[in-house]
Point group: C2
Chain length 220, copies 2
């Protein structure tokens, strides 16, 4: 193992939590950072903290409520309800926070450059849907290219799940020993997941594909 | 003139203020946004506001003090002094806020996508020095490429000053009628510019090249 340091953008969802376990296997020192951008499902941040405590990983949560002020989304605004139904539904477009991933990754890159970490992990995966243009492989690659030359430290952006879907991530995560009871997915943000929003449906399908029971509680 | 809208990232410095006047000539509607990232030279934000008032342009200042918490720099931290001397000096590296431009442009892109503006202006220019890797043309081009595919709205990043230096910007600005008395450049942030920091020296050289007297006051 090469002596090196990595930063993981940790939302507290299942993808980035699996990514954290993955990075820990690969690097000597791993730092996790999370962002509070006013998301209704703030519970994910509490779970991110619990995961890092369990794994003894340095973790910081940064206030990014500026993102809520900059651009409207059903994920952050009280006057827009989180829609139910599958991701393909037209109204799921309301859950797009414009350019969210670029903003989060840019800030995380700033952090990585500041502490001179060589690697930065970001949990984009192949299962992310067409409504989220900033989850595509092409986007991740161009983001990597610009980060590489943004600073002399040459931080490298890594997105190892870009070609696999959420079901495959669970399969990988089980091998890595991920505790999925400490992850949150539901956009509504209650302690029990709603089981109805696009995000819940995708999670349930992922566990079904992996042939494993999801350890979290659902309302229905 | 095509009916279109543009957003300008306005620091309140001479480059981005010239850029604002430039964009106003090209577009029907122009919005300016500024960021308070804890810079000591906060006076630039007050002047940005005055310029927008004078030009009757919508202007918003967003709190981005998160950047100060994420990464250290002499421009933001009270315990690091702003160095004097020319940009080439080794200690000017302390003024680098890691990845600052990518963070600012990413957030501005989020804003532009939210209001469905087609264009986003960013004031990088050829005179920016080797200590700022995120001012290079190659960086601006890669940033443009990733923003283009970050959202279905396809915001286009424009950086019309990338091939000219600060002296040429002043020459252009005079033609556009820019009021340079409403711009701030000194990193120290006092009302009278210090005339000694790298930023002041560069400004003075630019006005000298343009053959125009700088309308702001200097301590020396």
């Amino acid at each position: 193992m090469v002596k090196n340091e990595a930063v993981v953008v940790l939302s507290g969802g299942m993808d980035s939590t699996t990514l954290l376990y993955y990075a820990i296997k690969k690097h000597d020192v791993v730092y996790a950072i999370s962002f509070d951008y006013g998301q209704k499902h703030k519970r994910e941040l509490e779970l991110a903290k619990l995961t890092c405590k369990k794994l003894n990983i340095d973790h910081e949560i940064f206030d990014l409520t500026i993102l809520n002020k900059l651009a409207p989304s059903a994920l952050t605004r009280d006057n827009i309800d989180v829609p139910e139904g599958h991701y393909e539904a037209e109204n799921m477009k309301q859950t797009v926070v414009p350019n969210r991933n670029m903003v989060l990754v840019s800030l995380a890159a700033s952090y990585a450059m500041g502490i001179e970490a060589q690697y930065l992990y970001y949990g984009a995966h192949a299962g992310d849907h067409a409504i989220y243009p900033d989850c595509r492989k092409e986007f991740a690659e161009k983001l990597r290219d610009v980060i590489k030359i943004a600073d002399w430290t040459e931080v490298e952006l890594l997105f190892p799940f870009i070609d696999i879907d959420k079901g495959d991530i669970v399969i990988e995560g089980i091998k890595l020993g991920v505790d999925y009871s400490l992850t949150h997915t539901c956009y509504k943000g209650n302690i029990k997941a709603c089981g109805k929003c696009g995000s819940c449906q995708e999670r349930l399908e992922a566990f079904e594909k992996a042939g494993i029971k999801d350890p979290i509680e659902y309302e229905v």
